[in-house]
Structures are given as structure tokens and as C-alpha cells.
Amino acid sequence: MGFARDAGWALAALAVFIGLEFIGLRSAGFVDFVIRFATFGLLALSLNLLIGTAGLVSFGHAAYFGMGAYAFGLLMQTGQWSIPAAILAALAATALLALVVGALCVRLSEIYFAFLTLAFQMLLYSVILSWISLTGGDQGLMGGIPKPVFLGIDLARQEHLAAFGIFCLLVSAVILRQVLRSPFGAALRMLRDNPDRAAFVGLSVFRYRLAAFVIAGTFAGLAGVLMSLYVSGAFPTFAFWTTSGEAIFMIMLGGVSVFLGPLVGTAIFLMLNDWITALTEHHGLFLGAILLVIVLGLRKGLLDVIVEHWRARKEKQP
């Protein structure tokens, strides 16, 4: 029942997007925004599986974003891979990386976990910078990423890429939603709230956390694939700590406890970023000040506040 309803919402959202494209919002700016929204929304949504559900604050989530982008880009540059096959291979590579890093990190908690994930991210970043023959070093993966047409989808066309990005985001959102609703999701929440009690009732803290880590990393890899398609390359900054920081900020803005909070935060962050960049050269000063006011003013994510307010009103009603 839950799956059918989520899938219905996702289909409705896809229909709304396609409808918007057809009724005249087909401006290039809108299409670009949609691609970036799908990319960063997926990154933030995947990170929130760790932060919001499992209670694991990862500072190194951009490692998987970068891994997805580089793996996909390198495979496509060989000219031997179709896009779907390269996406699957890139996701497999990202999942493997997340499995190895996660196995070492999830035994720790709180600040130790956060810093170890950050350390692994910076390790990957250093590898990207140093392995110039493979990655292009600090100049990034050059030469463009070929985008052969598959199933009539031409990702070299921005409208197709936007629709593909939204499709990936919605499918991922439905899957992640099912993960949260499943017994596995309930176990993660229990581990977040009281890991000792969960261990006493027989749950393997290590296995559950590792599984969540791998799932989150894999979806971040898909976000990286979308990013590499958008910029037709891959760059070391994808795997830099600032990318992880931005994803955390999007979650904080939109809300941790509501499933769609990261998507709302992504939309706010991107709109503020685009608006301020067009208005002033003192981007950091203005964006920082606005975000500070929002965070200090609300003290929670926007959707957290709205949902809490709505529930409070509902309870008051006779």
C-alpha cells in the first residue's frame, strides 16, 4: 500500500515536471535548475539516510559523489560502454568503496565516525589529485563525456537530461522511502535512538549501519553520475569536503526529520545561490548572512518546523 502510494506520488511529480516543460517553462534556466536540483537533491537525500535515520553524521559523503562521477566518466571515455551499463558499473564501484570505507568507519560513532569519514574523503581527494594519468589531476577529467543515445534518450540534450535526472531522483526517493518504512529502517531508527538497547535485543549494530552506509553511498554515486553528465567531466572538487558541507547544509535548511526535507533544503540553497551570484560579487558574505538568519531564526529545518506546527494544530482540534 505504502509503495503504491509513493509510486503514485512519484509518477504525479514526474507528470507535473513534464507538464511544466510543455506549458512553457521550458526555458534553459529552468531545465538547468532541474538538473542541478535532481543531482544535489539526490546527494542530500542519500546523506539524510545516514544523518536523519541512522544518526551517523558523515562529513565524507562527497567521496561517493566523486567516485560515481569519475567511475562513470572514465568508463564512458573508453567508448566501449553504453550509458546504462556504465551507470550500473559506476554504482557498483561506488558501493564497493562505501563497503570498504564503511567497514572501517561504522564501528565508531559521533565525532570519531564523522572525522574518519572526512579522512577517507580527503584520501580519495588526494588520490584524484595525484593520479594524474588516470584522473587528469587538479584539471579534472578532460575531453568531454560521450553521451550515446539509448532507448531514444539523448542525454546531450538538456531537456532529456533534466527528465532523466528527475526520473533518477524520483525512483531513488521511492526506493529510499521503502527502505525507511521497512523493518530495516525501523532498526536503523532504533540504533540511532538507543544503540545499546538495539544490541541487547540482538540487532547487529555493525551490519545495519554498514548496510545503511553502502546504500547511502551508492545513491550519492548516482548523484555523481548526474553531475558528470551535466558538466561533461569530473573534477576533484566533487570529492572535496566543501561538497559534503553543502549537502549537510541543504539537509539542515530543509529538515532532518521529514523525508522530503533535504529536497526542500536543496531547492532553497540552489535558488539562494543562483540569485545571489547574479546580484553581487560578494557571494559568500550574503549567502552566509542569509543562511545564518534562517538557521538561527528557525533553529530547525523549514519542513521540520512546518510539520511540527501542522501536527500541533491537528492535536488541538477537537
Partner: protein, 420 residues
């Protein structure tokens, strides 16, 4: 109730009448007095952070040239409007801005003023969109030397790493022969530009003078604040000469710290990026006798046009131009010349005109620069090496590099890379 309705109707009627009057009388007049549609040129660049000077000095120089073009009537009355945006040095943001400029803001051309990373991101965007783009800051040789990177609408209006390395290698080999400098060490930033440029310099210096031996190297991180460890390593190696491609603030910091340790008293120092006002004027006690390639100097080339450019820039912005400034100015001059010759903004026609174009330039080695047709990169710009003095003009005894030699060795280098 009825009164208010009547009043509302009266108001609406009045507004309608006013609108109709404006439409009949005003709009045609607006049509006559409106200036012609500007030619929008997008400039993705870096205006914040540690290399903000790159974007600021590029934008300033472009503005001088664009103002001159517009004051002279533009393109049949169409002025150029620069749309400058800050990417903060992030490639993904540079790509987004470039795309947005082209698709949403109606920019017909791009003057890409990004550093190499962002420049390559913009390169991939315009490969897809077919927008005529002039890269004005990326010095990475492969941007145009590698045939896979070339396409019809992308041009480089910047000095190129391999050109500097050939000129520097030749100069260093001569000095080494005269002063019998055999033991060399290098200190360069630990990233692609630092490693590539150093390797190319050493390769060419040794090809001119096989006595040169590199006995050690040290690679500080980009933006490293303390060079004690690197200076100690250089001091212990006791080289007769040191090469560096550190740049801007990093070079200033290193030179100041190395002076305290007396490093330049024991070794000749060759710094390809020293002769730029952002560096020369910031070193507190500029050591005498540091060998440097020209980045930008108002007296090299020593021609009135160059001095006039520097003085105008200084008058408007209270600082002297940088290497990025002359490149940006040259980019605008090439683009505006092509626009005038084409008499329009058709991208294919403008690109065809740019290909192989030679313009008079105060920044040229012989009074002109050329957009070489075969790889769409700038050649013929002034390259020279000299030695520093502590006061203005800061660098003396400039020796002009021989472009015939540069072109010959560049062709050999390309063939060796498989790019010939």
C-alpha cells in the same frame, strides 16, 4: 456598494485610457530612442577567495577595452555588455554559470576568465553549445595542444606553459653556461601546473645545456603558509641554482622567508612568475638579481601602447595590470576586431575570422599577436627574461625570447607527445 463599484469602474476606465494613450503615442517613440540591443559577452571567473586577483584584474582590463569599443560606436551602434559572474573557482559552478549565461542571459560569446580547472569545465560546456569562447587565463598547454581538446569555437588568448618553458629553458641554459651553474634544485607547487611546467623547463634547459643536473626537488602544497621545511631542504642541497614556478602569494611568501635564511646569497634563483606587479610590489625586500620571466611589465615590450595601457589601468583602478590583464585586453581586442570585420555576430563567421587573425598589439613581441589557425592559440606575444631590482621598473636587462626557436621546439615537443 454601488458607489464603490462605479468608482472602481471609473478608475479602471481611466487606467485603460491612459494605457491606450501611452500605446498610441509613447511606444513608437520608445522604439526610436531605445539603443540597439547590446551584444552580451559572458565572463565566468573567480572574484573571491585567494585568487580573486585573477578575476578582478581580468574584468578590469576587459572593461577598459569594452568601454573604448562602445565609445567608438560599438558594432553598428550595438555596444558590448559584459556579464561577469563569480564561480569561486569551482568547476561545477563555472560550468553552470557558463551554461546559464548562454541559455538564460542571452550571451552570444564567452570570455572565459577561469583558472585551468574551471576553464576546462567551461570548455566542455561550449563544446556542446557551440558558443564562440576565448579562454583568457588557462596556460595549460594541453588545452589547445592536444587535438582531442580542439573544436571550432574555442580559442586560447593566454600565454602557454610550453612557450614559457622553452624561453625559460633557453635563458637558464645561457646563464648556467656563463656562470658555470651545474647543480640545480627545484621548488614548485604540488599540482599539475607546477609539476608539468617544472618538468618542461628542466627538459628544455637540459636540451640547451647538458651540464645542468637536477640534484633535488621539493614540492610545497598550493597556498602553503610556511616554507621552512622546503627552504631547509634547498639549503642542505647547496644547489648553485634554484628553479621555481610558484606564483602570486605563494611566491611572495617563499621569497620573503627564503631571504631571511639567506638562500639567495648562495644560489641563483630563477622564478618564471616573478615579474608581475602583484608579486613584485608585495615582496617587502625584493632581492636583487632574481631571474624572472615576464608576466606583465609596463616597460616590456617598451612601447607607448603598453605604457598607455598600464597608466590607464592604474588611473582607473589604482593598481597596475597583471598578466591576466593583458591577456583579457587582447581577448577583447581580438573579438571586437572579428566582430567588426564580420559586421555581425554570426558565430561561424566570427570563429572563421578569428582563426589565423593577426592584430597589432602593444603586448606582441614584434608589435602584433596572432591567433594561430592550426590550434587556435595565441602566438607572438612578448616573452622575455631579466633580473630584478628593488625599485621601479623592478626588472632590468630583459632579454627577448626568439619566437622562431619557440615555434620550432614546440613543434618537436608536440610530435614527441603524439600531438603533431
Amino acid at each position: 456598494m454601488s458607489d464603490s463599484t462605479k468608482a472602481g469602474l471609473r478608475r479602471r476606465g481611466l487606467l485603460g485610457a491612459a494605457g491606450a494613450t501611452a500605446a498610441i503615442t509613447g511606444f513608437p517613440r520608445l522604439g526610436f530612442t531605445q539603443p540597439r540591443q547590446p551584444i552580451k559577452v559572458g565572463v565566468p571567473t573567480i572574484l573571491s577567495g585567494r585568487v580573486a586577483q585573477l578575476g578582478i584584474s581580468s574584468r578590469n582590463a576587459m572593461q577598459i577595452e569594452v568601454d573604448a569599443f562602445n565609445a567608438a560606436g560599438g558594432l553598428d551602434g550595438r555596444p558590448i555588455e559584459l556579464v561577469v559572474r563569480d564561480s569561486r573557482g569551482t568547476p561545477a559552478e563555472a560550468a553552470r554559470l557558463a551554461r546559464e549565461m548562454i541559455t538564460s542571459e542571452g550571451c552570444e560569446f564567452l570570455l572565459d576568465a577561469e583558472a585551468s580547472g574551471g576553464g576546462f569545465a567551461v570548455h566542455e560546456v561550449v563544446r556542446e553549445t557551440g558558443t564562440v569562447t576565448l579562454h583568457i587565463n588557462s596556460e595549460t598547454s594541453s588545452l589547445t595542444a592536444d587535438p582531442r581538446q580542439r573544436f571550432w569555437n574555442a580559442f586560447r588568448v593566454a600565454r602557454q606553459g610550453v612557450h614559457d618553458s622553452i624561453a625559460g629553458g633557453h635563458y637558464a641554459a645561457q646563464v648556467a653556461r656563463q656562470r658555470n651553474l651545474r647543480r640545480w634544485m627545484t621548488i614548485s607547487p604540488d599540482y599539475a601546473y607546477g609539476r608539468d611546467t617544472t618538468a618542461e623547463f628542466v627538459e628544455f634547459a637540459r636540451s640547451f645545456n647538458s651540464d645542468i643536473q637536477v640534484t633535488g626537488e621539493t614540492w610545497p602544497r598550493l597556498f602553503q603558509p610556511d616554507y621552512t621545511e622546503n627552504i631547509t631542504r634547498l639549503s642542505q642541497g647547496r644547489p648553485q641554482a634554484i628553479y621555481s614556478c610558484l606564483w602570486a602569494g605563494d611566491l611572495v611568501t617563499f621569497v620573503e622567508q627564503a631571504s631571511i635564511f639567506g638562500l639567495f646569497a648562495q644560489s641563483q634563483f630563477f622564478a618564471v612568475n616573478m615579474a608581475d606587479y602583484t608579486t613584485l610590489q608585495q615582496v617587502r625586500n625584493l632581492p636583487r638579481g632574481v631571474h624572472s620571466g615576464n608576466r606583465y611589465l609596463k616597460n616590456f615590450p617598451d612601447v607607448p601602447g603598453n605604457l598607455a595601457f598600464a597608466n590607464e589601468y592604474n588611473r582607473r583602478f589604482n593598481v597596475f595590470p597583471t598578466n591576466w590583464s593583458w591577456q583579457a585586453a587582447t581577448g577583447v581586442r581580438l573579438l571586437t576586431t572579428a566582430l567588426r570585420q564580420v559586421g555581425g555576430t554570426d558565430p561561424r563567421a566570427v570563429a572563421a575570422k578569428l582563426k589565423g587573425m593577426t592584430i597589432e598589439s602593444p603586448f606582441g613581441a614584434e608589435g602584433s599577436v596572432t591567433m594561430r589557425a592550426e590550434d587556435q592559440t595565441l602566438v607572438g606575444y612578448a616573452i622575455g627574461w631579466g633580473t630584478t631590482v628593488s625599485q621601479d621598473p623592478f626588472v632590468e636587462n630583459m632579454q627577448k625570447a626568439d619566437w622562431a626557436m619557440i615555434l620550432r621546439l614546440e613543434a618537436e615537443w608536440k610530435r614527441a607527445k603524439g600531438w603533431g
